[in-house]
Amino acid sequence: MASNSSSSSAQQRLRIIAGHLQKRPEDEHASVAAQECKAETPRSNPSSAAPVPKRRQEIMKWNGWGYSDSRFLFNKKGQAEFTGKRYRLSGLILPSLKDWFEGTFGANLQHKSPATPTVNLSAVAPPNLNEPFIEDLKAAGVAASHDPEDRVFRAHGHCLHEIFALREGRIGRVPDMVVWPSCHSDVEKIVELACKHNVCLIPYGGGTSVSSALECPHEETRSIVSLDTSQMNRILWIDEKNLTAHVEAGIIGQDLERQLNEHGYCTGHEPDSMEFSSLGGWVATRASGMKKNIYGNIEDLVVHIKMVTPRGVIEKSCLGPRMSTGPDIHHFILGSEGTLGVVTEVTMKIRPIPEYQKYGSVVFPNFQQGVACLREVARQRCAPASIRLMDNEQFQFGHALKPQVSSIFTSFLDGLKKFYITKFKGFDPHHLCVATLLFEGDRGKVLQHEKQVYDIAAKFGGLAAGEDNGQRGYMLTFVIAYLRDLGMDYYVIGESFETSVPWDRVLDLCRNVKERIVRECKERGVQFPPLSTCRVTQTYDAGACVYFYFAFNYRGLSDPVHVYEQVEHAAREEILANGGSLSHHHGVGKLRKEWMKESVSGVGLGMLKSVKEYVDPQNIFGNRNLL
C-alpha cells in the first residue's frame, strides 16, 4: 500500500514537473516578487529544491531559529553581520545595530551568554517505547526513529522558555519516537495503531509554535510519538478552472509558494513564519498571513480539509465554495491545535501571481495619527495587500538594521531625508512612526491604489517615505527570530505576542500594555528598561491586529525566564482587560490555556470539550493544548 501510494505520488510529481516545463512563464521576474525578503533557494533547478529533510538538525539549528548557516553575530570589529547566503541581508554589515543594541538594552559586547554548542545526548531520557506499536508500525512500512537528536528537535516550539532551556542544555520530556508518514493513508494507519496500542500522538508540522503547543505534557505516562508531517509535502493537483490546488498538509510555506509560482500561481498566504511553518499547522492554529487583505486568512483560503481522527476521517463531500449545512465542520478543525487529529490534505484557493508588486512607506508625526490613518483606510476598505504601522521604538529598531550604504551619495541622500522630515516638517524623531505598505495587482491598479492610500495618509499628516523603508520593515519580521538568538548571546531575552482589538481601543491597548510591561519589569528587578514596542499589523473592518515585541537585559536576575513569563502573563492580563483577544493567530496552546474559559465562556469551552470527547475519547492526541 505504501509503495503503491508513493509510486502514484511520484507520477504526480512528474506530471507537475512536466507541466511547468511546458508552460514556463515568459516574464521571469513575475515570480520573483514575493520572495524578496525570504530565504531563496537557488532557482536554477526549481523542482529539485530540497524539501524538509527527516533529519532537520542537519540544516537547521537545534537550539535556535532557522537555518544553521544563517545567524547574526558581532564580528571582531564589533560590527553586526548576518552570515550565510540565503537572505538579502546575508553577508552584509549592519553598522548601527551595535549602538542600538547596547543603547536599548544596556547590553555590552563584553558580557556574553553563549549557548551550549551541542545537544548533550546523555541528558535525553531513554525512550519509553511501546514495542507492539513499533512492530505493527514497522509492518505497515512507516518510517520511524527514536534517535535522541530527532526526538529533542521535536520536543519544542520557539517559545522563549523552550529555546532558553535548550541553550542551557536543559532537556525536559521529549517524544519517545518520531514517525514520518508519507501520505494520508500512512497517517490513517498510524492513528489506528496508536488507538490500538494506546499511544499518545503529537502532530508536528513546521515546529514554529509559540504557544507551548509542542511541549510534551509532563503528566503523560504513555509513549509519546511525534508525528512529523514534513514528508507529506506534495501538491497533488492544481485545478485552474476553479483556481484551487490540492496539497498535502506537511508542505511548508516557502515550498508551497515556490512550487505554485512555477505554475504561475500563488496562495498569497504569507505568515511571518512561512519559511518553516506548514500548511497543516496553519489550519490547526488559524494562521493569518501578511497579505490577508487580498487573499484572506487561512479560514478564507481553505475549500476542503481532510483530517484523520481516532474516529476516522473527517471531510466534506464536495468542493462547493460555501455551504449551509449546519455549523461549518471546518471550524472544528481550524484552530484545533492537534487535539483532534492530523490534517493530511487541504484544497486551497490559488491566484495567478500578481503582475506587479510595490513596497511603500509613510511617516507619521506620531502613533495616534498613524492609527487614525489605518482606521480610515479600513473604513474605506482600500487597504493594500499589507499595511503595518510600527511605533517609534520599532521604527528605530528597523533603522538599526540598515545595511552599510555603498556610496557617499546614498548616505547623503539619507541625511537629506532625515533633515527634511525632522527639521523641515517638524516631526519629533522620538515620536514619529512609520507605516509600511505592500501593493499587489496589475500595474495600473497598483499605482492608482497607491495614490489613494497616500492621499488618505496625507490627511493624517503622513509623508511618503519611500520603498526602501517599506521593504526593510517587512524584512524585520523575517529576521527578528534570528535577532532573538543574537540577543540571547548577550543576556537579552525577548518574545513577541499578539492580539486583536476593536478600533476604538487600539491606542489605549497599545499604550497600556507597553506601559504595563515596563512597569512589571521594574517591579521584578529587571535592571534596565525593557524594549516594549508594538505595531498594528492587520486591519479589519471592525478592528486591528496588534503585535508586541518585548525584550530585556537579564543580567543580575537569578531566574530570567520566570521573570519573563510573569511579565508576559501580566501583559496578557492587560490585553484582556483592555478589550483585546486572547490571540489573533498564534493560538492558545498550553501557554494561554488558563484564559480559555474567560475568553469563550464556560458553555463554549464545554462545546469544544464535548467534541474532543466524541472524536478522541482515549485522548490519543494528547498534547493537551487549548482545553
Binding site: N512, L576, G579
Partner: protein
C-alpha cells in the same frame, strides 16, 4: 505608591516645614508675580480652556446622551445640545494665571495674619511632584473649612505644581465677583443635587473625565462632599470617585493617582458658626457681603495649620483583583454604564479607606486632648489634674498611633497654658480651675433655653476638637463598651457586641464596611499592648491596671450612646407614623428638653450632654440603625439591651 496595609501599624510620618516663614521675609507681590513653571504630566495633551469645552460637547458620550434625552423628551437634539452647552457654561472653570497670582498675593497677606505657621510635609510634595509626571492626579483633601481649597491651590502654586481644578458647590457661584474669581482660579461649580438629571450628569462626568484624560490639570474634590461641621470625617460620597476612576476601568488611562491630603487647623475659622448650625441655626448664605462682614476673623489668632500630603494611591493597585476591567469590553465605551454591584462595593470601600488615610494623617494639637478631658468633666478641672491627665492621655494617644504635634522640649504645663490661651473664647480659668464656659457674651440670660443654647455652642465647639481625635480611640473604645455591655468575657460574645456597636455607628464614624474582624483585632492588639487587656484564645480579660483606660474609653463614646438612646426613645415613645424629616429634628430636640426636666437627668450638665449629642448631625446619623432598633422593638417587644 502605597497599598493599604491590611494590618495595623504605626506609620512613619514625614517632617513638616513652615511655608509662611519664607513669606514673612520677602515681598508678597514679587512672589505672586514670580515665574511659575509647574512640573507637567508626561502624557499631557496641551489644550486651552475653550478647546476643553468643545471637546466635551463633541464627545461621543455626551452626543449619545443628548440623543437619548432628545428621544425621551421629544425636544430636538439641537435644543438638548444647547441645554448641555449652557450647563457646561454654568459649570466650567476659566482658570487664568493672573487671577491665581492675585489670589496668591492676597492670601499671602491673609494667611500671615491668620496663622502662626502653615506646616507642610515637603516629602509629600516631592512625592506629588513625582506622581504628577507619571499619571493624572486626583487630590482629595479633607474638608473642615472654606480655607481648604484656597490653601491647596496656594500650596501647589508655591511648589511649582500644576494648579488643580476644583469641584465646588454651586453655593459659591452665587457670590458675586468672588464666585467668578474662584472660577478663574480653577473652581468649577456643580449643583448640590441632580440625581435624576441624565444630561447634567453626562456633561459633568464628561467634563471631569476629559480633563483627566488629557492630563489637563489635577482634579481636586472633597470625598466627604461638604465641610464637616463636627470635625469628624463624614461618610464619603462615591459619585465623583467613580467618575475619576472610570477612565482607568475603561482602559483610557493606564492609572490614576489619588492623593489624600489631610488639612488640620489648630483653631477652625468657622468654629462657632458650625456649632450654631448643628443646633439648628441655618447656615448663612454664601455671599460676598457676608464675606466682607466676616473680615473680623482676620484679627484673631488661629494658631498653626498643618497640611499633610499622603502617599499617592494608585487606582490600578487599588482595583487589582477587585475590578474586572473586561466587564467593559462588550459595550462601546461612550455609552454610559451604571457601576455594577461589585464596582459599587469597590468604590465604597476605596472611599472609606481614603478617608481613613486622611484621618490618620491629620495632625492633632495638644488642645484636642484637653478638649476631650474637659468635655468629660463638665464641672471643670483643676489645672494640675488637667495637666496630669493630659499627659496620661497624650501617651495613650501616641500608643494608639495618633499623629500628635506636641512641642518637643516644653514642659507639659507650658504646652497646656499655651493651648488654653489660644482657645480662651471657650473657657474660663480662675484660681487654677479650668471650665468650659461662655466668655464671649456676658449678656443677661433672657430665657433658660437661650442660656442653654449659649452653653451648647461652647460645648459643641469644644466637641468638634475632641472629635478630631475620635478616630484614634474609636476601635478600642468600641471594644471597651462592648466588654462592658457583653456581661461576659467570652471573646465571641464581646465580638458580637462589638460588631453590633460598629454597625450601629456605621454612619457616625468612618468604619470601613467589611473590616469588622480587622477592627476588632486592631482594638484587641492596641489594648493588649497597653497592658489593659489580656486576650486569650476564647476569652478577653481585663487586667488590674486597665480599669482607668477602659473607663476613659467608655466615656469617649458615652455622649454618642446617650444621644442614640434619646433618639431611639423618642422613636419608640413619641413618634407618629408620618413624620417628615423637617419636623423630625426639632421634635427630637424638644423631646430632649422634656427628658431633661422630667427624667432624673438632674444636673444642667447632663442635660447639656444630651443636647450636644443630639445635634442635627447625630440625629440624621442615628436614623438608619435606630429605625432598625425601633422595628425590633415594635415587632418583638424586646429591647436590644445594648442600646436601650
Amino acid at each position: 505608591v502605597v497599598l493599604f496595609s491590611p494590618h495595623f501599624r504605626i506609620r512613619k510620618r514625614d517632617d513638616f516645614e513652615d511655608v509662611l516663614e519664607e513669606r514673612r521675609r520677602s515681598s508678597d507681590l514679587r512672589y505672586a508675580l514670580r515665574c511659575y513653571t509647574p512640573t507637567l504630566y508626561k502624557g499631557l495633551v496641551p489644550c486651552k480652556v475653550s478647546m476643553l469645552k468643545s471637546i466635551v460637547l463633541q464627545s461621543d458620550h455626551l452626543q449619545c446622551v443628548i440623543k437619548q434625552v432628545s428621544s425621551e423628551s421629544g425636544d430636538s437634539t439641537e435644543c438638548v445640545a444647547e441645554e448641555a452647552s449652557l450647563i457646561l457654561d454654568e459649570m466650567a472653570h476659566r482658570m487664568q494665571l493672573s487671577t491665581v497670582r492675585f489670589f496668591v498675593f492676597t492670601l499671602s497677606k491673609a494667611f500671615k495674619r491668620l496663622f502662626r505657621s502653615v506646616c507642610v510635609n515637603e516629602e509629600g510634595i516631592q512625592r506629588l511632584q513625582q506622581a504628577v509626571q507619571e499619571h493624572p492626579v486626583v487630590l482629595l483633601p479633607s474638608h473642615r473649612s472654606y480655607m481648604d481649597f484656597l490653601m491647596m491651590s496656594y500650596l501647589l502654586y508655591m511648589f511649582d505644581l500644576p494648579l488643580p481644578v476644583i469641584a465646588a458647590g454651586m453655593d459659591f457661584m452665587s457670590m458675586k465677583f468672588i464666585g467668578e474669581m474662584l472660577r478663574m482660579s480653577g473652581a468649577f461649580f456643580i449643583r448640590r443635587s441632580f440625581g435624576g438629571d441624565k444630561l447634567y450628569w453626562a456633561v459633568f462626568s464628561e467634563y471631569v473625565k476629559t480633563m483627566l484624560r488629557k492630563g489637563y490639570a489635577p482634579i481636586e474634590f472633597f470625598l466627604e462632599g461638604t465641610r464637616s461641621r463636627t470635625c469628624k470625617s463624614l461618610t464619603p460620597k462615591t459619585g465623583l470617585l467613580n467618575i475619576v476612576m472610570e477612565p482607568f476601568f475603561k482602559g483610557e488611562l493606564f492609572d490614576v493617582s489619588l492623593v489624600p491630603v489631610s488639612i488640620s487647623y489648630e483653631r477652625v475659622l468657622e468654629e462657632s458658626l458650625y456649632a450654631r448650625e448643628l443646633l439648628g441655626v441655618p447656615k448663612p448664605k454664601e455671599s460676598t457681603s457676608g464675606l466682607l462682614k466676616a473680615r473680623r476673623v482676620l484679627s484673631e489668632d488661629y494658631g498653626s495649620m498643618h497640611v499633610y500630603f499622603g502617599h499617592p494611591v494608585s487606582v490600578r493597585s487599588l482595583a487589582e483583583g477587585k475590578i474586572k476591567r473586561s466587564q467593559y469590553n462588550l459595550l462601546p465605551r461612550y455609552i454610559p454604564q451604571k457601576p455594577s454591584v461589585d464596582t459599587h462595593e469597590f468604590l465604597n470601600d476605596a472611599a472609606f479607606r481614603l478617608v481613613r488615610i486622611q484621618e490618620e494623617n491629620m495632625v492633632l494639637k495638644p488642645w484636642v486632648l484637653i478638649a476631650t478631658l474637659l468635655l468629660q468633666n463638665p464641672d471643670g478641672m483643676d489645672l494640675s489634674s488637667l495637666t496630669e491627665q493630659t499627659d496620661w492621655l497624650r501617651h495613650l494617644a501616641l500608643a494608639f498611633g495618633a499623629f500628635l504635634d506636641w512641642p518637643d522640649h516644653e514642659a507639659c504645663s507650658e504646652v497646656i497654658s499655651c493651648s488654653l490661651a489660644l482657645h480662651r473664647r471657650l473657657l474660663s480659668v480662675s484660681a487654677g480651675h479650668v471650665q468650659l464656659s461662655v466668655t464671649d457674651a456676658p449678656q443677661v440670660e433672657t430665657t433658660p433655653e437661650e442660656a442653654v443654647f449659649q452653653r451648647a455652642v461652647v460645648v459643641l465647639s469644644c466637641a468638634s476638637y475632641r472629635n478630631q481625635i475620635l478616630h484614634v480611640f474609636l476601635r478600642p473604645a468600641l471594644l471597651a463598651v462592648a466588654m462592658q455591655s457583653a456581661n461576659s468575657s467570652r471573646k465571641d460574645d464581646i465580638y458580637n457586641c462589638f460588631n453590633f456597636l460598629r454597625n450601629m455607628f456605621s454612619n457616625e464614624f468612618i468604619l470601613c464596611p467589611g473590616d469588622s474582624v480587622q477592627d476588632f483585632e486592631e482594638a484587641c492588639y492596641l489594648l493588649m499592648k497597653r497592658g489593659v487587656l489580656q486576650v486569650l484564645e476564647h476569652e478577653i480579660v481585663m487586667s488590674a491596671s486597665g480599669q482607668s483606660t477602659l473607663a476613659f474609653l467608655c466615656s469617649v463614646l458615652e455622649p454618642f450612646l446617650q444621644g442614640y438612646q434619646v433618639v431611639c426613645r423618642y422613636l419608640c415613645e413619641e413618634t407618629n407614623e408620618n413624620l417628615t424629616e423637617k419636623e423630625f429634628i426639632p421634635a427630637v430636640r424638644s423631646f430632649c428638653f422634656v427628658c431633661g426636666s422630667v427624667n432624673c437627668l438632674h444636673t444642667r450638665s447632663c442635660l447639656l450632654l444630651v443636647l450636644i449629642s443630639v445635634s442635627t448631625d447625630l440625629i440624621m446619623h442615628v436614623l438608619g440603625p435606630a429605625l432598625f432598633c425601633y422595628m425590633c422593638v415594635c415587632h418583638h417587644g424586646i429591647r436590644s439591651p445594648e442600646v436601650l
